[in-house]
Symmetry: C2
Amino acid sequence: QTPHRDRPPAYGQVTTGPIEGSHKIWSSPPDRSDIRVPFREIPLDPSANEPPVRVYDTSGPYTDPTVQIDVEHGLPSVRSSWLAKRGFSQVADVRAVKPEDNGFAGEKQLVASCPAPHEVLSGGKAKLVTQYEFARAGIITEEMIYVAHRENLGRAEMVEGAQARRADGEDFGAEIPAFITPEFVRSEIAAGRAIIPANINHPELEPVIIGRNFLVKINANIGNSAVTSSAAEEVEKLVWSIRWGADTVMDLSTGRNIHNIRDWILRNSPVPIGTVPLYQALEKVGGVAEKLTWGIFRDTLIEQAEQGVDYFTIHAGVRLQHVPLTAHRTTGIVSRGGSIMAAWCLHHHRESFLYEHFEEICDIMRTYDISFSLGDGLRPGSIADANDAAQFAELETLGELTKVAWAKGCQVMIEGPGHVPMHKIKINMTKQLSECGEAPFYTLGPLTTDIAPGYDHITSGIGAAMIGWYGCAMLCYVTPKEHLGLPDRSDVKVGVITYKIAAHAADLAKGHPAAQIRDDAISRARFEFRWQDQFNLALDPDTARSFHDETLPKEAHKTA
Amino acid sequence: QTPHRDRPPAYGQVTTGPIEGSHKIWSSPPDRSDIRVPFREIPLDPSANEPPVRVYDTSGPYTDPTVQIDVEHGLPSVRSSWLAKRGFSQVADVRAVKPEDNGFAGEKQLVASCPAPHEVLSGGKAKLVTQYEFARAGIITEEMIYVAHRENLGRAEMVEGAQARRADGEDFGAEIPAFITPEFVRSEIAAGRAIIPANINHPELEPVIIGRNFLVKINANIGNSAVTSSAAEEVEKLVWSIRWGADTVMDLSTGRNIHNIRDWILRNSPVPIGTVPLYQALEKVGGVAEKLTWGIFRDTLIEQAEQGVDYFTIHAGVRLQHVPLTAHRTTGIVSRGGSIMAAWCLHHHRESFLYEHFEEICDIMRTYDISFSLGDGLRPGSIADANDAAQFAELETLGELTKVAWAKGCQVMIEGPGHVPMHKIKINMTKQLSECGEAPFYTLGPLTTDIAPGYDHITSGIGAAMIGWYGCAMLCYVTPKEHLGLPDRSDVKVGVITYKIAAHAADLAKGHPAAQIRDDAISRARFEFRWQDQFNLALDPDTARSFHDETLPKEAHKTA
């Protein structure tokens, strides 16, 4: 009877419909009915005599049965009216799509471009463009009001106990308030401690804030298939990731059709989309790193900026002088971006063009309010290489670049490792905070041991929970296929749920005032044998229900 | 070509044969060819130019192709010649099996008793019986020599770098030596900081040491099926758990046939077997807690002692005065043993018979060298109840009982929670060490959030890794079916592998001198694209290989 949503949707479709046992609601901040913030509400059995449990919801309009989903039309606009008032200009000479943007895909292989309408804006002539600039100018944007309401969840009703819950946690110097106000959001962004990745060309976005004084966020990576049968198939990867809780999604596609697929993804994405523009630039020069030029890279930034990408990974911290530091490593340079830039630097024996042109990169990214995700190209790929000279030298450079980007008005977060044993995790967080002026940290795992390929969602989930507790703002997921192959639908779900566990465990440990509401509700349900409530309150109701039904299939057992 | 060992064995059989890509070896300590310690060696590709990697091996003779396995004969004896010299007497009047021992199983339902020969010993008249007594007397037993050799793995060859590796770790006051000597083992046991659970009636045992200055151990729980089709089916649960790395196994069977099934398990177990005698005692009184008596409980202890159970969970810390402390909990008393004893205390309104007869329990357990696992009957069942007054009051009682048991010559470890958010884990470890005189801690998880039924191996794996790092000596696994149903074969494997990850991550973080050898070997294999080596060095070679083959099935890709 329950639709088993782990089955892929029909051809040309994406997964829609409520998450089992819950419904979508939209809620507006006081006096701002123009701002509609999504939540999910889980009603409980009447015997519980408790209000529904409200949870954070990343799933977008896809879980709202009242919204007609058609990937060819794209999602409804959330931000257009806000953006319209900011003095941005419509770009008349939008960059034309070139054959190399889609990897020279032939007529038969070419995925058509997304027909959803898309007006390209530029903030070039506006005085204030980025959320950072608005925040520094003391201006609270609609995005700030939106995320404040979103972060509070049900906290309006429980401010009373909030201080006690805060005091009960251990937050390692974070300053989570009992209640999030728009002004608090503004002040955190102005201080560089938080970002709202929100390209002005991504009006479909439901804004999300990333910073250590907010709920810990998670990212899921997706990429195109070698053979794409339909654009919906690629959009579905996004929809599936956000259905289970991905706060942002990185599109790491390579090869053919990546420009057009990116278009489909952006027009249908309620979450911030990140990319690594270097990957596409490399495709344009036939995969030969030394052929990369600043001109090709710059053109790729404009291409993706106009499409609406919300954050770019920029590996500008891999400097020529750092490369020799990796010579005696066990696993060398494992970051793809890091390898590309190291190869380029060594071949030309000159400083990285990303480092040399960093200010111009800032100018471009500021024009569209694309956030920096300063890449850790020298992250350790093994326990043996954790916290070595190469890794920390790059981190210091990232700290230097953070200040440049801020001076240019940009939003910035910093990428982090990688493979790190438990006892070496905390210093990563401490050092990142001090080197990078408290800019949000965004880490991959870290994996706490190298010996469990096939289970690296778990080896890394341990490290992710810990670094999230210590202050990491966003955790990039790792799936069971890490090191072995490409994740399928099931791997993506397991990766996302594992990272939701890590992020939530971190929120609990930090003493986030609203985090424990859901734990308490599910624990009461468990104690009272309200099985349906226990399933519905779970991060993955479908799996909880099916595991239970395997051994105790009778309906009667679920309410007894 | 690779046998897919996740398939259950044929009727009447158990899983045998080497773990893919490795072979069993037996190694003797210097001058002690009578002591044969098992390891597993993983040979590497000749291109690596590296010696085989030696790893700890819990799998028993089942992975040795030279041993003929027949569950009706039981395993070869490891300890008989050692035990023969200790002056123990053969029990003439062995306790006769009673109908209630097997839950009054009728003729048709009765699983036959195991025909393997079993001589029952009693240490009652010997001056020294337990490993603790020998250690205190300054005597090094064969078991101590065995575990010293076992713990060292390949460390003989790398003592040189050991101090540096130790210094690189963070062990929170543990004192892991660069090299484990039998004398060090003796001194740790004498101090109560470590135990070797080893009933004198379990000669098939391959001794294992549990203590925070040794490798972190894991336990898997098994239990009988409602309908047992063959005794081998029950033995297979043990075999399957130890194949993937369980260091000890608890038999939590209930209902029919439990006496006879326990016999089959013990005669075929190379690892220590733990039980909760209270469960069987309750069966004998028809499941009605208040009908329990000291006499029935005492008789059950003798019954299981003579069979050879290596450690007993004894819930003697649940005192009458503690029960009211749980009144306002979110999830009350979730431990089965705790609930039974609380019900008994409340019904009779008197002190627990386990607490009142604790010295007699010690005398019985000392007679056979059964180790105490002092149960945490009041462990928290939810984040809300973590570290509350009830939990810590019980822990203080356990500390008091530890000293009583030591004075009686018994080996002791202490069970711990449960559900605990990350920031409240460390105090559990610190308090356990101080209250219980550094007796080994043995925890269930802890689960770091309540909201992910279906994934509680992960919510708890996070907590397990952390508490293992802080000093917990053994981690009791949790499977994906926790809270939902009974684990199947696949769940058991996932639970064991998850806990091997947690234990190994802890060993790395503590700076265990030999732990990183395997990480380094797999990382070099990864860097050099030696795929077969990477699979074979993995905790689960079969899964790593099959995940890889799903996306890149060609043989060529694995050596390229």
